[in-house]
Amino acid sequence: MALGSPFRSALRVALAVVLLAMGLVAASGCGRTPPIEFPLNLEGREPASVSPKQAAAIRQALTELFGTPNEPRVPDGVPLDLKRLAMAAGAVGGDAQGRQRGLYRRHCVTCHGIAGDGAGPAAAVLDPYPRDYRRGIFKYTSTRSGAKPIRKDLQRTLYRGVPGTAMPSFAHLPSEQAEALIDYVIYLAIRGETELYLLQLVVDEQSYLPPDMDRVMEEGVLPVVESWLLPERNQQEWVVTPPPRPEVDRPEVLAASIAKGRELYLAKDSQCVKCHGPEGDGNGEEKELYDDWNKPKKGVTPEQTAALARLFKLPLQRLRPRDFRKGVFQGGSGPADLYLRICVGIKGTPMPAAGPAPGVPGPLKPDEIWHVVDYVRSLAAGAPTPQ
């Protein structure tokens, strides 16, 4: 049925009035939250060194590849579950089936920030700072030196929390939600490393804009994805399963193992004392220790360090080697946890891998690592240091 012409004109006017009113309301900000965006990673850079055009090109490339905080997406070849990502992303709420949405913003964002930069509103008062995922480095893994964590490692951290820090246990979450959060953390990490690559390509290299997306995939995204897949696909080579612990069921056997562990701990080969000190109290000769997230904030002179501070969201934070006598271990205090810390090291920190790895003999053999574990646990249990 066709409407009469005068009626159509009236309808048009009415529509225009309604649209204008809506526009005014929107412009005044009433009832509308600003769109949530991933902030650009300008850590360590003079903001003026990135031109508005370059910043826009990087944002555009990242949005094309990874979507937005409300609508994440992943390029082909990134093995993440979009349904899980959708569950973790977006505003806190629920869907029609009563399933929770916005899990990341419900549980994580206060400390880890919207882009996973580890600089959420609560971060500045925490020591250590929350993890910045954007370098793709996670401290507590079962994987060999250099490798990314496997999914199980992130699950362990999520379930256990990080003792001695503000990271609580999320063991109460239904596994569906925990898995969604793990996918989302890996998503932020892959996105973050791609962003670092884009900054190098667009700003440092001053490539033509917009950047060649095939090149970004080939040089930026896919190598990062490969590094996540490497330990998962090739667990035999890349994942350490602690060998069975030698029997220490009798006190004299345990005492012998502890004594042997102390000897290895103090030996020049292992270098434990350099940071943890001869007493295991974290008071070694190395005082100027920083993790990978803080190293760039450290200048050669105090003046340089002060000048660098304004380029970072959070102030320089020194790393304190673990005081074993306190018995609190961030990566877990079970014998197998401590075995892994010694064997594969703590990623992103000066704590190196002391165990053997393909191509790297390492100073400690598996049975020797168990002795050191027994020694460290004896200190944690309050045993006096043997003289």
Binding site: D76, E219, S227, S270, P352
Partner: protein, 266 residues
């Protein structure tokens, strides 16, 4: 539903696997490669008074390291101004590789920990063909720590030598656009740089400032110059340390490249 990028990648990979099949079936890999090759030579000169190399603070493992005269290696200028440790490399992404190079280059690139410093200070590696290996010649433990962008980071302990098997090998998986710093967490004065590339066309200028990139394919190639003090080594002619050159068969001489001292201040 594959995205646009996904489809393109798939096509590229299919083409790449066809290439691999062709190689396996004995089809020459460098069909389109140039038949002629040329060398690029020249010399970097620091156009000013050679700066004094400062003695570094050696306050760890003093028993061993204290006896060496350890000095800053970040700006090494020879007696007649030759500037060492300038990286000069092919910036063009696709470059034909002279088949003779693979046979003539060593299979391994070695970094030694000797007298409490890294030797050499600057290295490059053709990572698909060469293996990085590192040894410790000192009687104290050493550490090798580097974080290439988008590649696996390393943090390796090397037990005290001699008398022990303390060599460690490492594989790079990705080209880097600029050299990667190598540090030792035990001895903060130690420093080295390594540039992993997917081609062998990298020169590091020698103590007298001279360099040579051998057997480049003839034709237009873009080069990049980099030094640890200046970053991209800019000259009035080389914006951001880059220049394009038409390589001809035989020797292509860039002559002496004079570099103003203010580029190296810090």
């Amino acid at each position: 539903m594959p995205s646009r990028i996904g489809r393109r990648r798939f096509l590229e990979r299919s083409v790449a696997s066809l290439g691999a099949m062709a190689a396996a079936w004995g089809v020459p890999a460098v069909l389109r490669a140039s038949a002629a090759w040329g060398d690029l030579v020249g010399r970097f000169v620091y156009d000013g008074k050679a700066p004094e190399r400062k003695k570094l603070k050696v306050d760890k493992d003093v028993d061993c390291c204290g006896k060496f005269d350890i000095r800053d290696e970040s700006l090494m200028v020879g007696p007649d101004g030759g500037l060492a440790n300038v990286f000069l490399y092919v910036r063009s992404r696709k470059v034909s590789i002279c088949p003779e190079l693979e046979a003539s280059l060593p299979k391994q690139v070695k970094l030694d920990n000797r007298d409490c410093i890294f030797v050499p200070h600057c290295l490059s590696i053709w990572y698909p063909k060469q293996e990085f290996y590192t040894v410790n010649s000192d009687p104290i433990a050493q550490n090798i720590d580097f974080r290439p962008l988008g590649d696996l980071p390393a943090n390796i302990i090397l037990s005290p030598a001699p008398g022990k098997n303390v060599d460690a090998t490492w594989k790079f998986n990705k080209s880097q656009l600029v050299p990667v710093p190598i540090a030792c967490n035990y001895h903060p004065w130690e420093s080295a740089f390594i540039l992993p590339r997917d081609n062998p066309y990298v020169a590091i200028s020698a103590a007298d400032g001279t360099f040579r990139i051998s057997k480049l394919p003839v034709g237009k190639i873009e080069f990049q110059a980099w030094h640890e003090r200046s970053g991209y080594l800019e000259t009035p002619q080389w914006l951001r340390g880059r220049f394009e050159m038409d390589i001809r068969a035989g020797v292509n001489d860039l002559g002496t490249i004079k570099l103003a001292p203010d580029r190296f201040e810090r």
